[in-house]
Amino acid sequence: MSATLARDETRAFGPRRLWICLNGIVWRESLRFLHQRERFVSALVRPLVWLFIFAAGFRQTLGVSIIPPYDTYVLYEVYITPGLMAMIQLFNGMQSSLSMVYDREMGSMRMLLVSPAPRWFLLTAKLIAGVTVSILQVYTFLVIAYFWEITPPSWWNYLTVLPALMLSGLMMGAFGMLLSSLIKQLENFAGVMNFVIFPMFFASSALYPLWRVQEGSPWLALVCKLNPFTYAVELTRFAFYGQFEPISFVVVVGCTIAFLAAAIWAYDPSRGILMRKGS
């Protein structure tokens, strides 16, 4: 019996083990998401309310003229669809940061962090798991939008948008992870909703083109231009129409790297985010 329960040599943690580890984290996050039906439904209802009610209501008042990537006049609901896709990812990124605060309080974060895989890898894997879930949400939303007759120019574009969703999901997830390192306790999360999610969403190009904002308030337009969320929206919008928008790409990639590096820094064992509670 003795040889079976403990052994002297450990497995070297090479690329194969890391791959197993990453898969396990993504698998667990997806299972958890499927078990939380309410979370799935609310993640879907939110953008649908915007699409079916808000956009339909504003259809007459807010016409959108021809701006790239559109080559014709578009209905307002068509315009805001990419913004709503990005909104799903924004909420999801914040939700996974909420789950990190929760995990930290409940101990499952400690489970994760006693893995022999490097900590930066574990945090990145957790991030990728969250992005996978957000992409599932976006595609479910697109299926419903399809029946509302909101479709990209070609079937092919359902694929071209995928890399953009991955990138913008990573950016939002990394931002959420950074926020989670700054939040001491779960209760503070309501503040994040009010002071982070809503301003980010409204002060962006998700609901109205920037040139229109510029006409109304140059000051607000500047805020929108400084908001990384705007670039996630535009990257998604162009990709949904089979086009590549280099500036958005650079901003999104740059912000992802910066947010993730800061989050990994904050979660470093010697830095003490995790010791705040003292337990």
């Binding site: 329960l5 396990g24 895989a117």
Partner: protein
């Protein structure tokens, strides 16, 4: 690994939260294949020490080694040799027992085949082989603990840490868990660090480390600590060493 390397070495570990000193120059070692009790009341610094050993965060100063591997500098090889049962429940209640074990196996980089083989042995060992497909939320507190012990052993660690594993359990569950873990140290060559505030979980031959208000107050076999302090039992010895009353559960360990 040569036999003379300790399973766990804690060397001059000091840690503070702001001005509050939680650990003050704590040093001790746990030998392979031994059952070591870390005894201290709530607030003694046990949880802080636990967090430092598991590399949740780094101590302000001092060093922790697991089979010679520095937890801060070589955390991969150190953590690969370590199994942990945390004080708070860390099974995912919505997942089945098997799914919980699969997640942990993946975190340890185990293939499905490796994990299944180990899972079979371990669930039998903790007497829950027939519960693999049940959701964790349908288990009793004692059963969850036993699953957590099986999980901690999944990757065949040579050192196992348990943070107050009997907290909140009934008498029979406590005794069952204690006996499973004692067998591990005796039969399987696993070094065990068992954290508790209850003196009745200690046997005369156990290695006991007494921690009080962040300071080490005793580090020897239970029998030696009792003899040195001139007390009648470990409970009285604890009181003499710390000035605080010892707590007992209600089991014969």
């Amino acid at each position: 690994m040569s036999a003379d390397v300790d399973a766990l070495t804690v060397e001059h570990v000091t840690h503070a939260y702001g001005a509050r000193v939680a650990l003050d120059d704590v040093s001790f070692a746990v030998a392979p294949s031994s059952f070591c009790v870390l005894l201290g009341l709530n607030g003694a610094g046990k949880s802080t020490l636990f967090s430092v050993i598991t590399h949740l965060y780094a101590a302000r100063s001092g060093r922790v080694r697991i089979f010679g591997h520095d937890v801060a500098r070589e955390s991969g090889p150190a953590l690969a040799r370590l199994g942990v049962v945390f004080q708070s429940r860390t099974l995912d209640p919505d997942l089945s027992v098997e799914q919980n074990l699969a997640y942990h196996g993946a975190l340890q980089g185990m293939t499905r085949g490796e994990r299944r083989e180990r899972q079979k042995i371990l669930l039998e060992r903790v007497g829950l082989a027939d519960r693999a497909r049940d959701k964790a939320r349908h288990l009793s507190g004692g059963q969850m603990r036993r699953i957590e012990i099986a999980r901690a052993l999944l990757h065949q660690p040579k050192l196992v840490l348990l943070d107050e594993p009997t907290a909140g359990l009934d008498i029979k569950s406590r005794a069952d868990i204690l006996s499973i873990v004692r067998d591990l140290a005796r039969d399987d060559g696993v070094g065990v660090l068992w954290t508790t505030h209850l003196v009745d979980e200690i046997r005369a031959e156990d290695h006991v480390v007494v921690l009080h208000k962040g300071k080490l107050r005793g580090d020897d076999s239970c029998a030696a600590i009792v003899a040195q302090s001139g007390a009648a039992g470990i409970g009285e010895a604890f009181t003499k060493l710390t000035g605080a009353p010892a707590l007992a559960g209600e089991i014969e360990a």
